[in-house]
């Protein structure tokens, strides 16, 4: 096992965060050092880049750079002196070709909504932001295959598809800002993986630019193509370390009209698990989301978001948000009624409500999707995204709650249907003592239960050192070899994913 060479340490910032409602985590005692093999930008470089992207594609403004250098959680901050906004794949290719030859490190960036510090520089890497490449190239209304550039915002794509009677097979809280290139590079899971599967299945083709400027055209939009190795799968989830995604071909499902959402209260975690079984049995193919929220998470989001409690009389410890999507309203309602009657009779739910119209549906979803933002407003937050066998999932939460005592509030929610726990520890301030009690305990516990230390958020910078908790040394070694082959100068998103 490789020794951990990089450590993230949070400096205690006291009450200062309250003023900005955020805190920067400056790695004062971080052991990551800038790789001195990388060049430092000079005027020649800037002139060359200017020649590639034009004056409107070159950003050196301090304020704009400050925003691009800081991640969404305001925990990681780089010091890039230059941001580039290419407008075509050719420009991306020229940028990378030049950067490779000069050994200039780059960070590919989309909507900058990542949660593991993967989308911002660690030092002075040049940011290559794909936001200007936001055209929808084509849409086939028979097959549902959409081809678009990597800088398209997820919500924009979904709205475009809705007009045509289709939907994007991925949905997450960041949809208004995240870009599809970043979603692909992170292999984002989202709220409906339980129904539509992962991006590994829905992405039919990619166009990727390699570190030497080669434009790899794998943009086929065929449902089935077993010719050779399926290389695009390497880039899905590679977090920009193997190549820069520039175009995407996606298979999109029909947008079905009948949507029902239930918000249900359960007394204990065992009931939640049984509910999942019953939901699969009774709702079957119309089940489209199965999320859980514990009472601490619900309290947090209701406090900071202004939404009202869907079940004001319920004082339970667990809440489930269950959604069905189908083509026939009466068919789905009947399935839902049977499901509800069964679980009520069995005593699996204590109380609940079914949304009566679209406003109520979106209210319930806003509650679930607003938890991350609420945590951000509440203070310092340590965020963990873990895959754990469903039967053991909540044990970690209770053990950690006991372990941390009054030091912090442990809040849990997530995609229960996928076995994905979003574990968040909320404290008034970032605190050395606190992090010492959390890490590596959480990672070790997860590894001991054969889980994953990053279910869907990726490793980024935050967990670059933690890959060995979930992958064998041989696997990691092969990953290093692939990285060395595809990016010999190591310029693509360095210090990330595999430390």
């Amino acid at each position: 096992m490789r020794r951990i060479l990089a450590q993230r340490r949070w400096t205690p910032l006291g009450k200062k965060w309250l003023e900005n409602c955020r805190a920067y985590s400056v790695p004062a005692s971080s052991k990551v050092v800038r790789d001195e093999r990388f060049a430092t930008l000079d005027d020649q470089d800037i002139k060359h880049f200017s020649g590639i992207v034009g004056s409107k594609g070159l950003v050196v403004d301090k304020d704009e750079l400050e925003v691009a250098n800081t991640d969404w959680m305001r925990k990681f901050k780089g010091s890039a002196q230059l941001l580039l906004r290419p407008q075509s794949s050719n420009q991306v290719a020229e940028i990378l070709k030049y950067s490779s030859s000069r050994r200039i490190a780059v960070v590919p960036q989309g909507g900058n909504t990542g949660l593991v510090g993967g989308s911002v520089p660690v030092f002075d890497e040049v940011i290559v932001n794909l936001g200007a490449m936001n055209s929808i190239i084509s849409f086939d209304e028979v097959s549902g295959i959409l081809i678009c550039e990597a800088g398209c915002i997820l919500e924009t794509l979904d709205k475009f598809l809705a007009d045509k009677g289709f939907m994007f097979p991925l949905d997450l809280g960041a949809k208004g800002s995240c870009q599809i290139g970043g979603n692909v590079s992170t292999n984002a899971g989202g709220l409906r993986l339980i129904r539509y599967g992962s991006l590994h299945g829905n992405i039919l083709g990619l166009e990727v630019v390699l570190s030497d400027g080669t434009i790899l055209d794998m943009l086929s939009s065929l449902r089935k193509d077993n010719t050779g190795y399926d290389l695009k799968q390497l880039f899905i989830g590679a977090e920009g370390t193997l190549g820069v995604v520039t175009k995407v071909a996606v298979l999109t499902p029909q947008k079905l009209p009948s949507v029902n959402v239930g918000f249900l209260a359960c007394t204990d975690y065992t009931s939640c698990q049984k509910m999942l079984l019953e939901a699969r049995k009774h709702l079957g193919e119309v089940l489209s989301a199965f999320e859980f929220i514990d009472s601490f998470a619900l309290d947090m989001v209701l406090k900071h978001s202004g939404h009202r409690h869907p079940l004001p009389d319920a004082k339970e410890k667990f809440y489930l948000l269950i959604e069905t999507t189908g083509s026939n309203q009466s068919h789905d309602k009947e399935k839902l009624d049977n499901f509800v009657e069964t679980v009520l009779t069995q005593g699996l739910v204590v109380d609940g409500t079914i949304a009566q119209d679209n406003t109520q549906i979106s209210n319930f979803w806003h509650i679930r999707e607003g938890i991350a933002e609420a945590l951000g407003k509440a203070g310092a937050v340590y965020k963990y995204d873990l895959s754990i066998p469903i039967k053991d999932l909540y044990n970690l939460v209770e053990i950690l709650r006991e372990r941390l005592g009054g030091l912090a509030t442990v809040v849990a929610y997530g995609h229960l249907g996928d076995g994905n726990l979003h574990l968040n520890i909320s404290a008034p301030d970032y605190d050395e003592k606190l992090i010492a009690k959390i890490e590596p305990f959480v990672y070790e516990w997860t590894a001991a239960h054969k889980g994953s230390v990053s279910a869907e958020h990726g490793l980024g910078f935050m967990k670059a050192h933690a890959i060995h908790y979930s992958r064998s040394p041989e696997t990691v070694e092969l990953m290093r070899k692939m990285k060395a082959m595809l990016d010999p100068n190591g310029i693509l998103n360095p210090y990330k994913v595999i430390a």
Partner: protein, 221 residues
């Protein structure tokens, strides 16, 4: 089909009056095609006791005067002490039905209610209504018509036990003919035009470009 938000507030108020012991029964009424059944079910799931569905060929021919006449007919057979309506429907924004039915019945009316209190002896109702100048408080003899405004209450979500119970509650169907009401087309829609489409915004890539556009295109300065 979603319940009109103001009507939802009216249903909620009716339920609260019943829960306070000031009423014995809450009946929800909807008029139109088959989609009305869903709306009535929502009312029943919130806690209403039974539903009345006035079936018409299609809902688009039901203008406020027709609705008011139908309500007048229902009132004579049901004999309610209080008629609660939303102040207006969000499809036509007419804000007429409550006022018209009160006129037809000869009942007192209080519109845009933000607070409703039935008296202890259940003979009168005290209503605070939102008017331009502030809040007006009036007292009406029952039976009366009250229309609900936004701030009257926050409607409850229909809970599972009530949703299950609602399936067994009755929805009585009746036609305008059975109520001796002729639905006339007393309004003719001459034209409906959309407001002019907003032009899409333009993304500018630099401050210079912004200044240029402000000066030469928008002519701000």
């Amino acid at each position: 089909m979603s319940m009109n938000p103001f009507c939802e507030i009216a249903v909620e108020e009716a339920l609260r009056i019943k829960e306070a012991g000031r009423a014995s029964e809450v009946v929800v009424v909807s008029m139109g095609g088959e989609q009305c059944v869903e709306t009535i079910r929502t009312g029943l799931a919130m806690g209403a006791d039974r539903g009345l569905h006035v079936i018409t060929q299609d809902s688009s021919s039901l203008f406020p005067l027709a609705v008011a006449k139908l309500l007048q007919a229902l009132v004579s057979s049901e004999q309610p002490r209080l008629l609660l309506l939303g102040k207006q429907a969000i499809d036509d924004d007419c804000n007429q039905t409550g006022q018209m039915v009160a006129g037809l019945l000869g009942w007192p009316q209080a519109t845009f209610a933000s607070k409703v209190s039935i008296s202890d002896d259940k003979e009168s109702v005290c209503v605070e209504r939102e008017v331009d100048g502030g809040i007006e408080t009036i007292q009406l003899q029952l039976p009366a018509v009250v229309t609900a405004d936004l701030r009257l209450n926050t409607p409850r979500y229909a809970t599972l036990p009530n949703i299950m119970k609602a399936k067994k509650k009755s929805i009585q169907r009746v036609t305008p003919e059975e109520l001796n009401v002729v639905i006339g087309s007393d309004l003719e829609v001459l034209e409906v035009t959309e407001p002019p489409k907003r032009k899409a915004g333009v993304m500018v890539a630099s401050v210079d470009e912004l200044l240029d556009k402000l000066k030469n295109e928008a002519r701000v300065f």
